[in-house]
Every structure is written in structure tokens, then in C-alpha cells.
Symmetry: C2
């Protein structure tokens, strides 16, 4: 069994910031970049946390992600903006787009920011939360490389196009939906392989486009994802492609290269960010109090035997995050080695590594 | 076998308008009311077409739907409005809300209209299409009486909360997603019963909250719908409840009585309507041309053997509608009798009935 390491959020943040700076990212951008990834990691969304840093840095090194570029505002009105990301850091571009959307909502009730030529923006839920803040409803999405088939299709048609809808409550953390439009994330295939379990019917197609339940039938990156809820999830992915890439005038569908396989090609994707100021409709405190009522109602719903109470969207992430703030974040040996290697490649001094070996009985919190 | 009747869209429109007028609806409102239902019927969405008129009129008669009331604008800014529907006709309220949202988008790029104390607004897709028109993206939703369980729940938790996202193309009809958040509509149970087929696993709970695949286990109205894609569909229904009822300050969750069973109680539901002017982001013709490219791409996708080409969201409805404009609409004897009975109850002369018996070999178009 490989080792596990533990690190506090603060130290991980500092390490990642320094790492990005080592690769030419400005001080300010490096902080934004690191913070979003560590926040995601803390919420237990490991697939979109620090494990992704290797891919970001591979792209910086290959020159397909340009850390020197700022955004360009191509078109702007009091309620809207169209932004060219200039192939910069998706997370930094998104942070700026969120700020613009919120400022417009602050002044005019609603802000809608459309972005093209960005890069992978991390977890949609992070931007949902930032858009929402303490007083708004946030909606955002991104397109992504084709991976999801049409319900009756045999090939990768469109991205899984994750999106988030997020709203604040009073005594509870945000209600924050963050989903993509596939039945199951690629990363989950590892678990099925490890457990020797067949996929649920209808979740994957093999390399040749035939439905399969066998997780060993081809290499993991070659599986073709089916849309969740068939025509409903596929319809959502079509609409998210329209609201992101087609509205922004960015690359869509098969024009989007693979973020993983095509390291030497730009991966120009599009996003949108909407901020809606709640008090343009209702007194903010009343809204939040009603949100608490809704959450209390969901918590009290009778459940099938053997299940714990119903959780609302975003509840698990918030609870995991609160616990990890105290216990620190657990990372596998492979991820830590990757991070340290990237650091030494840029001559960073890692003799005093911030990653400590976790005790054998250290229990990782990913569930509540 | 019961008889089938055929009627042209124009005559059905006129009949329904007169019928509503007979029940005290103003000329103008009756036209709006009839037009939306006939349009829905023409698109092949029979569950939300003229079959619903009986319920609307039962509510008018019982006084729980007030046809004399206009909307009140409670709060308004250049980009937003909060509307009290005053328990009027949901379809008429929605038509007005759409007009307000579009006007605001016309002037300021985006319009967001929130509505409370409305009634059943028909099919979400109709309002998506109206919001979109020729130049905007439309997004809308409604909440509804609780019918969908939480993924692990045993009871009806929230409405199926249908929503629509709609955008115009150039040479093709609108791309228009119109879905609710349940695995399967209640109405489909009739088909499973008729064919003696078990439900797909995970689609329904019985009256006692236990998973079932037996369509005969209890009366149809007592089945409990499961969310599509489990936590994803449930998350969507939670967020739609927030974007409709909680933002508007309307009734939410269990506060919403049943539109079918509680005829003597008001059914005060909430909606939202967003219009986004496309040319605030991109030249409208470029956007539409790219929409056509997306559609062409979807049409050319390879499909599993035995399937015809991939259809985009809204394509089937548009094609059916085009054909029914020529052939007329087919209605079952039960629906026609219901309509005629409601007419005679108000002393309307139906000696010259506009419904003609359809030839035995008349083929109804519900598929393309």
C-alpha cells in the first residue's frame, strides 16, 4: 500500500502558490489559482483539486496555456460582458469574470458574463459559490472536450459540460448544485475496476461505441460516457454547449481538443457566469430564512431503510470542507511526488517538505 | 375501440376561445389561453394540451382560479420584475411575464421576471419558445405540487418542476429543451399498464414509499415519482424550487396543494422567466448560423443500429407541429365529449360541432 500524506490547507495553499509562481504565473494569479484548487480539494472534490495541477503545468510548459495573458473585454454593457480569455489560466479568467458579473448584478440586478478562449476552470461549484457570495444566486457552466454520446449515439458527441446553480441560506451553508451531464465520471471507472464490479446498465460505451458493463474492456480514457437520464441529460449538455461556446463565439463540439490527450494543442473552452441579486426580488433575510426552511424540510424527509437523512446539494462538500480545515488534507504518495517533482524541476527548495506522512490510522473524511 | 375525432388547429383554437369566454374569461385572455394549449397540442405534447382544459375549468367553477384578476407588478427595475399573479390564469400570467422579460432584455440585454401566486402555466417549452422569439435565449421554470421523492426518500418531496432552455437557429426550428425532473411522467403509467410491462428499475415508489416495478400495485395518482438521474435530477428540482418559489416568495414544497386532487384549494405556484438578448454577446446571424452547424453535427452523429438520426431538443415537437398544421389534430372521444359537455354546460350551441369523426385509417402523427 502506498503512503498517504497530510497537509494543512494553509500550507498546501502556500506550496501551490509558490509552485505556480515557479512556472511564471504572477503573484496575484498564482494565489487565485492555488486558492480555487485547494478549496475544491477541501470540499472533497478530489477529481478537480490538486490532482489536476500536473495537467495545468504540462500545458504551461508546452505553451498551450499562456500565463502571461490578461483577459480582454470584447463587448460590454451595464448587464453583460463578452470576454476573450486569450488562452490564459481558466481559473484566473473565471475569478475575474465572476467579479464582473457580481459587480453588474450589484449595480443592475443581473450580470451575465460570457467567456471564450479560456482553459479548464476547475470545479463549476467553486464559481457558483463565488457568484452567490452572501446575497446572490449564481449560475455558471463550461463546455468541455467531447466525451458524452447522444442517447442513441455510438461516439463522443459533446462535452459533459458541468454547471452549477448556487444560492445562499441563513444558518446553513449554500445550497449548491454542481453536476456534469454524464452518467458517471471517468475517474469512477477506477473504482469499478478495483472492485471487479460491472457498470450499471446504460452507463458506458466501449471504444467501438457498443454498450458495455465491463470496466476492463478497454483503457479507461477510451470509454464513451453516456448522458445521465438519456435524452434529458443530453438535452442539458446541448443547451450548456449553446449557453457557453455558441453564445460566446468559441469552439464547440468536436472543435474542442482533448485537455488530457492533446497537451500540445490549445484547449479553448467557453464559460458563462450569471449573478442575480436576490433583494431585487425579495428582502434578502426573508429569502435566506425560507432557504433554511426548505433545508429543514429536506432533512426531515422519511428515507428508505438503511439510509441517513437527505442531504441538500452542496451540503456534503461544505461539511467535508469544515472538517478538513481542522484535520488537513490527505494526498496520496503519487500526487505528492508529482507536486514535489514539478517543484524541483523549477529549482524550488523542497528539503523542508510541507507534506507529512499521515499516521496509518488517519481516517480520510470524504463522507459525512 | 373508442372513436377518434379530427379538427383543424384554427377551429380548435376558436372552439377553445369560445369555451373559455363562456366561463367568464375575457376575450383577450381567452385567446391567449386557447392559443397556448392548441400550440402545445400541435407539438404533440398531449399531456399539456387540451386534455388539461377540464382541470382549468373545474378550478374556474370552484372559484380557486380567478379569471377576473390581472397581474400586479410588486417590484420592478429595468432588468427585473416581481409579479403577483393574483391567482389568475397561469397561461395568461406567463404570457404577460414573458412580454415583460423580453421588453427588459430588448432595452437592457437581460430580463428576469419572477412570478408568485400563479396557476398551472401549461408546457414550459411554450414559454421557452416565446421568450426566445427570433433573437433571444429563453429560460424558464415552474414549481409544482410535490410528486418527486428524494433519491433515498420514501415520500413525495418536491414538484417535478419542469423547465425550458430555448435558443433560435437559422434554417432549423428552435433548439428547445423542455423537461421535468422525474424519471417518467405519471401519464406514462397508463402505457405500462396497457402493455402489461413492468416499470424500469428505480422509476417509481408505491403508495407506501417502497420501490416498485409493478404498474398495477396502486391507483396511478398514488405512485411516487423518482428523480431522473437520482441526485442530479433531484438537485435540479431543488434548484428550480429555489429559482421559482423561494425567490418569488411563493408557496414551496409541501405548501403547494395538488392541482388535481385539491380542486377546492388554490394551487398557488411560482415561475421564473429569463430573456437574454443574443446580440449583446454576438452578432445574431453568426449565432444562428453556428446553431445550424451544431444541429448539422448532431444529425450526422453515428447511431446504434436500429436507430434513426439523433434529434436535437425540440426538433420532434416542431416537426409534429408542422405536420398537424396540415392534417389537423386528433382527439379521443373522451376528450371531445368532455369539451362538448363543458360547452353545453354554459349553453353554447354545439349542434354544429367542429369535431369530425376521423377515418379509421387516419394515422396520428406523434413521431417523425
Amino acid at each position: 500500500m502506498s503512503r498517504k500524506y497530510v497537509i494543512s490547507l494553509e500550507r498546501l495553499n502556500r506550496f501551490c502558490t509558490d509552485l505556480f509562481k515557479g512556472y511564471g504565473v504572477t503573484n496575484e494569479d498564482a494565489k487565485i489559482f492555488a486558492e480555487a484548487l485547494v478549496k475544491t480539494e477541501a470540499r472533497g472534490v478530489k477529481s478537480h483539486g490538486v490532482v489536476r495541477i500536473k495537467n495545468y503545468i504540462d500545458r504551461i510548459v508546452s505553451g498551450t496555456l499562456d500565463v502571461t495573458k490578461d483577459i480582454t473585454i470584447l463587448k460590454e454593457t451595464p448587464t453583460t460582458a463578452l470576454i476573450d480569455g486569450n488562452n490564459g489560466i481558466g481559473i484566473v479568467i473565471s475569478k475575474k469574470a465572476v467579479e464582473i458579473a457580481r459587480k453588474k448584478a450589484e449595480e443592475n440586478g443581473i450580470g451575465f458574463v460570457s467567456v471564450r478562449r479560456s482553459n479548464h476552470f476547475g470545479a463549476a461549484g467553486i464559481w457558483g459559490l463565488e457568484l452567490s457570495g452572501d446575497d446572490m444566486i449564481g449560475i455558471c457552466a463550461t463546455n468541455s472536450e467531447p466525451i458524452v454520446s447522444a442517447p442513441t449515439g455510438k461516439t463522443r458527441a459533446l462535452g459533459s459540460n458541468p454547471f452549477s446553480i448556487t444560492a445562499p441560506a441563513k444558518k446553513y451553508p449554500h445550497v449548491s448544485l454542481d453536476i456534469s451531464n454524464g452518467v458517471m465520471a471517468l475517474g469512477k471507472i477506477y473504482e469499478y475496476k478495483r472492485l471487479g464490479k460491472p457498470f450499471p446498465e446504460g452507463s458506458w460505451l466501449d471504444t467501438n461505441g457498443n454498450p458495455t458493463t465491463d470496466p476492463n474492456i478497454n483503457p479507461i480514457p477510451e470509454f464513451i460516457m453516456r448522458p445521465f437520464g438519456m435524452h434529458k441529460g443530453f438535452g442539458l449538455t446541448v443547451m450548456m454547449e449553446i449557453l457557453t461556446a455558441i453564445l460566446a463565439g468559441g469552439e464547440f463540439g468536436p472543435q474542442v481538443s482533448s485537455v488530457y490527450r492533446d497537451i500540445d494543442k490549445p484547449n479553448p473552452i467557453s464559460h458563462f457566469f450569471i449573478a442575480i441579486r436576490i433583494d431585487y426580488f425579495r428582502e434578502l433575510n426573508d429569502f435566506k430564512a425560507t432557504m433554511d426552511e426548505l433545508i429543514d424540510y429536506l432533512h426531515e424527509l422519511p428515507v428508505q431503510s438503511g439510509n441517513s437523512k437527505v442531504l441538500y446539494p452542496g451540503e456534503k462538500g461544505a461539511a467535508v470542507s469544515e472538517k478538513k480545515l481542522k484535520t488537513g488534507i490527505i494526498l496520496g504518495e503519487d500526487v505528492v511526488n508529482e507536486l514535489l517533482n514539478m517543484a524541483t524541476d523549477k529549482g524550488m527548495d523542497i528539503s523542508n517538505s510541507p507534506f507529512e506522512i499521515a499516521p496509518d490510522d488517519f481516517e480520510e473524511i470524504t463522507q459525512i
